[in-house]
Symmetry: C3
Subunit: 405 residues, 3 copies
């Protein structure tokens, strides 16, 4: 398909005009959040060219185990094949485009299209092609493969032919996250918070803690990010405790010139909880058994970002993953996934209600403030204002986003 | 209104680009099913320039009887006027555009607009024009007439000023369908199956039986179309039985070079039911009295297509009509109308539940597979695949469609 | 933001083409009511450049009292500030655009943004700007002010930098409306009638009484506008009675060449009720105490229009205000506000059910006919018809509208 026919030429011109309007250090103009054309371009040019965290290997332990991951109009089958390799396929039949797999998760020997029964192997290869004539070569019509990276058990996919380079970044991140034993996690709970706003407003909300003090009372009681000045004096003692607990007391920021590529931003940042808090719990007390090789609660937490779309918060006893999944131009699902050690048993080793409390209440706050943000941005009289210093994460996101779209 | 103002120029350019992208023998590109501009162009350039089957004369036996037929944003009044002529009018007041007729069906002496009481005769002529001044000539403001053809009781309309030629095709079809006594039918039941998909995906689904074997267990038990190879040996005996029952054992295909025009495709094709089946019933036994001049059940059925949008399946004892009515870009109503001989009495001569069973269950299947087809086609990574030989009907449809839009 | 980036250039070209298609004395072409681009342009170029009636000073008697007024994607805070001045602010934070004020009405000392706690004075000035660095000047980031005019207690706002001139028109209107004591009104009841139609179809419906006879039985029983010929003989006696009751027996029409500006249309027109009717009641009897300085019921009513978007109907004992508020391209709220003298007490001096009866039933009629108007206009075959003489108000509206968009 040529680029004109998909409207890409027009889209690109619109995007170029919009990008020229953007002033560095300020919020993005209204149209980035209100235009259907921009939204569709976002999926095609940004989401489909970035790495997306879709799940954990513990969800598909055996050959044939699979689950679907969906964003915008896209659906991906994530499956462990007969050779034990984790693969991802576009869930689109190569014949006339039907969804091939309809169940959210399960165990399969083959994927057979419900329309005309074109049948695919777990590795995506087409088995024959019923009544397609002698010139038909099934090898040409396997399911489109998405790129896959499994990083310490976390599964990332990218549907682009040329995904952004991420391997060098992951290699540098690996020793820092290793003590957490991420490959030994299991999913304790998943929740989805639908918000009537563009996905970028939801993501931006996660990227700054300038709003934490006014908007998140519960979070601010335990987490020090609310004011960078208070942070300084807490950091030195945390470093000492971290080393004691088995964590390296360093940060990693691969972005811009340092990063392997424009969208391969990888961060690993430690920051202190307030005194009395061992983890992100209401009481300050532990929520689950210590993770991986950690030898104690050091009173800190770790922000991990792998690519611009995937965020994790690693406490000493659990990891919380965040995604901001576009559904339509102004509909986004905030997806939160709580993970604990695979040997932890609900009821005995952790209480689901207590485990999920903090980020449940915080997400309810966020749903509300993101919604009101979108309502205001919809005004024809909205003029983007200046970003605060604490909003550097948003500025970085804009840089990467505007390079890619 | 000039063409630029309605956006037609842009639409035409977009359509030309899209058409260039289409590869003969393959499915259509994504944008044909996902673009609001293409959808609106479909209504304006395709639906409004094709013949549409709207109903049967038995619905309006007497002068003043009328019913509405609606598709996309269009509404048509189909009425028998005082001279006993079946007419069709655009249901749009010539003053400021209100719907004139609000009831789905009824008996009227006049149509009076509910807004300013402009009043029209059954034949569409405006009666005066209240307080419009001396220069106003009511003769200039009758309801816009749609073209009408009544073929053996079946009513077709086309709102274009120059409808595609259909008369020669109907003349050639007439002797073949005559034994069925179509003008003696009555509607036994109508049902609507809404499907969240573009109308073209719904129509394409009807146009091929490549999906019948995997998708329609009940249909495939009785109807031989599921595999063309099995078909051959059943056809010769059917021909013999057909002659005995009063039907001509020939097929008619007016299309492409043969047809009167690009959109006037007319087909009449006989095909066998499997041994033991007299009609499209669950048991194989008859569902209603024999139609027209038929002298017996010959164990066959007839596919009739009149223009690309209108399909009928004629069994020996009932006729099923199909329409795939666009409601919005990705909302379509599959409408099914079951017809029996006018003298057949429900309860005595036919059981409605049994009569409608096959195409009810088959349509539930179709609703599901068409929905999943649209979901997959929505993917930005959908690439149209090759059509199977059994999908020749779709290829023909594309040819006619792409010539017209 | 340059004009190209907001799509304005394209919009303007589309609008110019559409405007060229319009024939004076006829309805507007379909696209004015069916195009998303035109709708968004309507808000930006028409609503945001016109005066809008938002309420009455009695709603905000004391400093800090405020209410929100919303149309399309816009939200306006109308507030009485500490200096007792009625002000209107865009309800959009100057930081990243969140709604600042979330409650429909209330009493505030400050407006603090719920996202990052940027805090604004009642007069719109930003108080500091938390953690924004030394170069940040709060004076540059006050809430955007909307223009405000308070005319005899009625509050009008306009968000444009250069609002259409209205002061001279209001000065000429003032002596005519003065006897009604509008500044002494209070709101007795408000109601909203959602209609699935473009705002222009709702407004046009109000602007002509050509439809009153066929559509509004209850209205037509008491109000003489249904037929201009009957009107003549009733007008002379009304003039005499008006003078007796304290009203000036003159009309005022400031429009076109006479008016201060294209959008500043101001009308004041008296017309008779039918004999036996003292006010717009079911029985003809009074509904509430006489307004202002009126000394009696003169059996007339007064149409007041202040700018093209704001309509009032002043009876001797109550005033009804109308707005047709756009919500989306084909969703509009008909808002009706019934006002009586501030000293009138519900239950003792007026019965709410009786007070609101006439315009409640009339609006139910209008909801229905406007809906059917939109349905018909949606047809691709709709061709705008000629306006009747009684529809002069619509023609005037088109003139002003087409000059501005």
């Amino acid at each position: 398909m040529n680029i004109a026919a998909t409207g890409n030429n027009d889209d690109l011109q619109i995007m170029r005009d919009l990008i020229r309007d953007h002033q560095d250090g300020f919020a993005l103009p209204r149209h980035f959040y209100t235009s259907q054309a921009v939204y569709e371009h976002d999926i095609k040019a940004y989401w489909n060219h970035n790495w997306i965290w879709v799940g954990h290997v513990s969800q598909i332990p055996e050959p044939g185990d699979y689950f679907l991951f969906e964003y915008g109009p896209e659906s991906i089958i994530v499956v462990r094949d007969r050779e034990n390799i984790v693969r991802a396929h576009l869930n689109v039949c190569r014949h006339r485009g039907s969804r091939v797999c309809l169940k959210e998760s399960g165990k399969a020997k083959l994927f057979s299209c419900p329309y005309h029964a074109w049948t695919y192997e777990l590795n995506g290869r087409l088995r024959g092609g019923r009544a397609m004539g002698p010139d038909f070569n099934p090898a040409d019509y396997g399911l489109f493969a998405a790129n896959v990276r499994v990083f310490q058990g976390l599964i990332f996919i990218c549907v682009a032919d040329n995904p952004p380079p991420i391997d060098e970044g992951l290699a540098r991140l690996a020793p820092l996250t290793e003590p957490y034993g991420l490959e030994r996690l299991k999913i304790a709970h998943s929740a989805s918070y639908p918000v009537p706003a563009n996905w970028k407003l939801a993501l931006e909300n996660y990227m700054e803690c300038y709003h934490c003090a006014p908007s998140h009372k519960d979070y601010s009681r335990s987490h020090s990010l609310k004011d960078p000045r208070e942070l300084e004096e807490l950091i030195a003692p945390l470093k000492e405790r971290s080393v004691g607990a088995g964590l390296q007391p360093v940060n990693l920021e691969l972005t811009g010139g340092d990063a392997a590529g424009p969208a391969a931003d990888i961060y690993y940042r430690r920051y202190p909880l307030f005194p009395g808090y061992k983890t992100g719990s209401k009481s300050g007390e532990p929520l689950a058994p210590l993770l991986g090789q950690l030898s104690g609660f050091d009173g800190g937490t770790t922000d991990i970002q792998i690519g611009p779309l995937n965020n994790f918060l690693a406490y000493s006893d659990h990891v919380v993953g965040y995604r901001f999944v576009p559904r339509s131009m102004q509909e986004t699902d905030i997806q939160i996934i709580w993970m604990v050690d695979q040997d932890a048993e609900e009821g005995r080793d952790y209480d689901k209600e207590m485990l999920t409390w903090l980020w449940h209440v915080t997400s309810l706050d966020d749903e509300r403030i993101i919604r009101h943000n979108q309502e205001g941005v919809n005004s024809h009289r909205f003029v983007p204002g200046p970003l605060a210093e604490m909003e550097w994460g948003i500025r970085d996101f804009y840089h990467g986003y505007l390079r890619l779209v």
